[in-house]
């Protein structure tokens, strides 16, 4: 990818800067402004293929325009019979060979990148996270670290993190456009991909495989923080006391309500492997509720009382005792003070 290919790349980048700047989309969601290794590789190929294909389109359009201007039926041509040409071997050979060459130019870096991104040789020396896709939330288990969490995936910046992904129900697809392309999360086999964020930040992730009514609400975050911040976060998460008593009395009442209503039969706080529902260890640190709503007490109360109104088809609806608004408020108070770490999405900068 050096030499003339490098020049082509530089030229292509220059040419597309204008388009990218005007239609880039939201920072930390778009694939057009990558901040991760995989997304970088993808964008390179996107630009390379676009430039080559625009070249082909340009040729087609030039011939097309000439044809339409020169050979459109004109007045006084009613009796003109064009020469009936059968074909032209030279021309036909030319427009067979040139596309083959152009495709080879695309094929070689495509295959190189495909094998590069499938490289698992560094997996054993890297941080491995077990990712589970569920209707409609994500679970992350930091292998060998005794850390379980849901919805927010904390990773150290500049490090390869291997994700070993499986689904607990239907097929989902893990996609964080700004950092890496997507990989399906299947119920029958573990798929592995690695991500490597190059800048600190909170990156939006989305489920990209149709998975039911709330498919469009299955967002999550990848939070890339510095190595020191990450180490701090790991330590904080490992030291969580799941039974810790909250400071405020309201939250204390919420905690007992949480236990009385058997919320723990699906949810977990701490590194317990239970995961019928999302793990809530650092619930208060999250910036969004259920992946898509603002993290406010009001929203949380609504969620506890009627999750169906926020995520149609979720598995919580109808599977827990009815909760009064008052009790929901207390539980919300308890959940929102579950902030075990200093390291939050804010540590990684704004979204």
């Amino acid at each position: 990818m050096k030499g003339w290919m490098g020049k082509l790349r530089a030229f292509a980048l220059l040419g597309l800067t204008a388009i990218v700047l005007s239609a880039c989309g939201k920072e930390n969601l778009t694939a057009l402004d990558p901040k991760g290794y995989g997304a970088d590789q993808s964008l390179y190929l996107i630009i390379l293929t676009t430039v080559i294909m625009l070249f082909v389109l340009a040729i087609v359009m030039i011939v097309y325009t000439i044809v339409l201007i020169r050979y459109r039926k004109k007045k006084g041509q009613e009796d003109f019979i064009p020469k009936q040409v059968e074909g032209n071997k030279t021309l036909e050979t030319v427009w067979t060979i040139i596309p083959i060459i152009l495709l080879l130019i695309i094929a070689v870096p495509t295959i190189t990148a495909t094998f590069d991104l499938a490289d698992e040789s560094a997996a054993s020396d890297s941080l491995n996270v077990e990712v589970t896709g569920n209707q409609y939330w994500w679970h992350f288990n930091y292998e060998g670290q005794e850390i379980q969490t849901s919805q927010d995936l904390y990773v150290p910046v500049g490090e390869r993190v291997y994700l070993n992904m499986m689904s607990s129900d239907v097929i989902h697809s893990f996609w964080v456009p700004t950092i890496a392309g997507k990989m399906d999360v299947n119920p029958e086999n573990e798929n592995t991909m690695y991500i490597e964020a190059q800048e600190e930040g909170v990156y939006w992730g989305k489920c990209a495989e149709f998975c039911g009514p709330s498919h469009s609400l299955m967002d999550f975050k990848v939070i890339a923080v510095s190595q020191e911040e990450f180490d701090q976060w790991v330590e904080d998460m490992q030291n969580v006391d799941p039974e810790a008593e909250p400071e405020s009395t309201v939250a204390q009442e919420g905690q007992s309500l949480f236990q009385e209503n058997n919320c723990m039969s699906c949810h977990a706080i701490g590194s317990s492997p239970a995961q019928i529902g999302p793990n809530l260890t650092n619930f208060g640190d999250r910036s969004t509720l259920a992946g898509v709503e603002d993290m406010t007490k009001e929203n949380l109360v609504q969620w506890i009382m009627d999750p169906e109104s926020m995520k149609p088809g979720n598995k919580m609806t109808g599977n827990y005792p009815e909760v009064s608004e008052d009790d929901a408020g207390k539980i919300a108070e308890y959940l929102m003070q579950l902030e075990p770490s200093e390291i939050t999405p804010e540590s990684a900068g704004t979204e």
Binding site: A23, G25, K26, L29, T30, A31, L32, G38, Q41, S42, L45, I46, T49, T50, M53, V60, V63, Y64, V67, L68, Y71, R72, Q77, P82, K83, V85, E86, G87, N88, E92, T96, L103, I106, A107, T110, I111, T114, L117, D169, V170, I171, S173, W175, P177, A180, K182, D184, E188, N189, W204, K206, C207, A208, E209, P213, H215, S216, L217, D219, G313
Partner: protein
């Protein structure tokens, strides 16, 4: 007998005529009416989708209903609109183009159309019977197996019945083209539309069984307690994706190749030139069809098949760009040096070239595996396949309809309205779908019921919805045009476009026996050859004699009704025992009809020579 068509008849008589017809021209009308109806239905579903996405976090429709809409939009447009409309043109044109009096198996042809219509109705009745299928037109397992209610059951049975009809029609056209070409009509003298019909029929023959098997397995899983796709019981859900795409990718070519054929005929006719590089065009078609079976896994790059499989399928996919490119340049070269007449049929062909080239470009782009890790399942892919299917297939169908309407109905579509349809639809199409390439790359996955506020996706979606309204307007004008033409349209002569092929040698619409005497074909573009040699008409290959014709029959309709009833039986036997009455009753009805068909000798009838002589040319 043969003058009946021109006489006034009661509604009941016409209805009975169409219910029992085995005439390929009337079957074409049935396909057109059925396909046209479902096209409008699919269009309404598309409009609802676009209205829901006009602004962020909209609540025009609920999440569950939105999933039904997107599933039914895709399923309807592919299986119940695009395919039948293509079959309408094949039925109307191919026997005429090869100089035949009908297809090889007229009875089977009628069975095919009724299976399509009743399968389509069965599928759409799900709207009124507890909810339509909601697992996407691809019905990926396990989502489709676990989808509650009967929606997906209707999908399985509806497509199974429709698919059986398609498979029959494919076989029918294969046999017709192999056996029923007029004397002198060698393979390498066939018009491109007949050629692409031939190749498409081969694709149907090999691709549809994969769908049939997949649907049966899904049916057993959902209705009879098997576990082919149930991981928990040792099944495998990825197998469905393979089965579906082994059918699904060739399906893309089943749709686009006939469109290529239409454009080849339309462009040659209106450029007043022989198709440039005819042989290359034929072999490009065959090559595309062949490669079409080797690329299914490019729909599955993110499934985790590994870098080796992904690379192989990427290369195979890119290879398809070569024959497709040959075709684009050959069409341009056909127009080069010609005398291009631009009317509404030709406008669709001219609109197709840039639109489809963009679709082909993005096709190569999504073949680049690592780039596809970003494109996959986003609006980029939605944009890509709409550029191919609308910009290729729908433009092709519309070009074909404007071109052959006079031959099918004896009247010419109104030119002004035709052009208005083109321009609004063409502009609306690019407005709707071009921006979606960017929406995808900006992080919008497909099949999203809502997109969130403040993610930079608002403007693009708004533009896209505005474009959809332009397209809807174009379709409405087209409808008005059809009604206007039926009532007041200009009567068509036998050869309104100074045509080149055999269908223009006979009256518009043709008599029910098509050719009084089978024509003798002396080369490619037989009518054009006779015109340039000053004769203007094709020499008959046989003396005038009695013509053997097949009898009409109600059996194909009754067989299809039997399967339609049995379909309900299969769906409801899960919940209710009485449904077995429907299941066995319906199957019995079909089997009895088959028995009658087998035992009853039906030799058809002859149109006597005297009567043919009486009729003026």
């Amino acid at each position: 007998m043969s003058t009946v068509a021109s006489q006034k008849r009661g509604f009941g008589e016409v209805l009975w005529d169409y219910l029992t017809t085995v005439d390929h021209k009337k079957i074409a009308h049935l396909y057109l009416i059925g396909g046209g109806f479902f096209f409008l239905l699919g269009g309404l579903e598309a409009m609802a989708i676009r209205i829901q996405l006009i602004k962020p976090e909209n609540d025009f429709v609920s999440a569950g209903f939105y999933n039904e809409l997107l599933t039914m939009h895709g399923t309807t447009m592919i299986f119940l609109a695009a395919m039948p409309l293509i079959f309408a043109l094949m039925n109307a044109v191919v026997p005429l183009q090869i100089g035949a009096r009908d297809v090889a198996f007229p009875f089977l042809n009628a069975l095919g159309v009724w299976l399509f219509i009743l399968g389509g109705i069965l599928l759409n009745l799900s709207w009124f019977l507890g909810g339509a299928p909601d697992a996407g037109w691809t019905a990926y397992t396990p989502l489709s197996v676990t989808s509650p209610g009967h929606g997906v059951d209707f999908y399985v049975l509806g497509l199974q019945i429709t698919g059986a009809g398609t498979l029959m029609s494919g076989i029918n056209f294969l046999v017709t083209i192999i056996n029923m070409r007029a004397p002198g009509m060698t393979y390498m003298r066939m018009p491109l539309f007949s050629w692409t019909t031939f190749v498409t029929s081969t694709l149907i023959l090999f691709a549809f069984p994969a769908l049939t098997i997949g649907l049966f397995l899904l049916m057993f899983d959902r209705m009879f307690g098997s576990a082919f796709f149930d991981v928990g019981l040792g099944g495998n859900s990825i197998i469905w994706q393979h089965l579906f795409w082994i059918f699904g990718h060739p399906e893309v070519y089943i749709l686009i190749l006939p469109a290529f054929g239409i454009f080849s005929d339309v462009i040659a006719t209106y450029s007043k030139k022989r198709l440039f590089g005819y042989t290359a065009m034929v072999f490009a078609t065959i090559l595309i069809a062949f490669l079409g079976f080797m690329v299914w896994a490019h729909h599955m790059f993110t499934v985790g098949l590994g870098p080796v499989a992904n690379s192989i399928f990427a290369i195979a996919t890119m290879a398809i760009a070569v024959p497709t490119g040959i075709k684009i340049f050959n069409w341009l070269a056909t127009m080069w040096g010609g005398r291009i007449e631009i009317n509404s049929a030709m406008l669709w062909a001219l609109g197709f070239i840039p639109s489809f080239t963009i679709g082909g470009m993005t096709g190569v782009m999504v073949a680049s595996v690592v780039a596809d890790y970003q494109y996959h399942d986003t609006y980029f892919v939605v944009a890509h396949f709409h550029y191919v299917i609308v910009g290729g297939v729908v433009f092709g169908i519309l070009a074909g309809l404007h071109y052959w309407w006079p031959k099918m109905f004896g009247r010419v579509l109104h030119e002004g309205m035709g052009k208005l349809t083109f321009w609004t639809f063409f502009i609306g199409f690019h407005l709707t779908f071009f921006i979606q390439h960017f929406l995808g790359l900006m992080g919008m996955p497909r099949r999203y019921w809502v997109f969130l506020e403040g993610q930079g996706l608002d403007t693009g979606n708004l533009i896209s919805t505005i474009g959809a309204f332009f397209m809807a307007f174009g379709v409405i004008v087209m409808l008005v045009n059809v009604v206007y033409t039926a009532v007041k349209g200009e009567k068509a002569v036998a050869d309104p476009w100074d045509g080149r092929t055999l269908e223009w040698t006979i009256a518009s619409p043709p008599p029910h026996y098509n050719f009084k005497q089978t024509p003798l074909v002396r080369g490619l573009d037989p009518l054009w050859i006779e015109k340039t040699e000053g004769k203007g008409h094709v020499t008959p290959a046989e003396p005038l004699d009695d013509i053997h014709m097949p009898n009409s029959s109600i059996l194909p309709f009754l067989m299809s009704v039997g399967l339609f009833i049995a379909g309900f039986g299969f769906i409801y036997q899960v919940d209710y025992n009485w449904a077995y009455i429907l299941l066995f009753g319906g199957m019995a009805m079909t089997l009895v009809c088959m028995l009658i068909r087998s035992l009853k000798d039906d030799h058809g009838y002859h149109i006597p020579k005297v009567e043919l002589e009486r009729e003026a040319d």
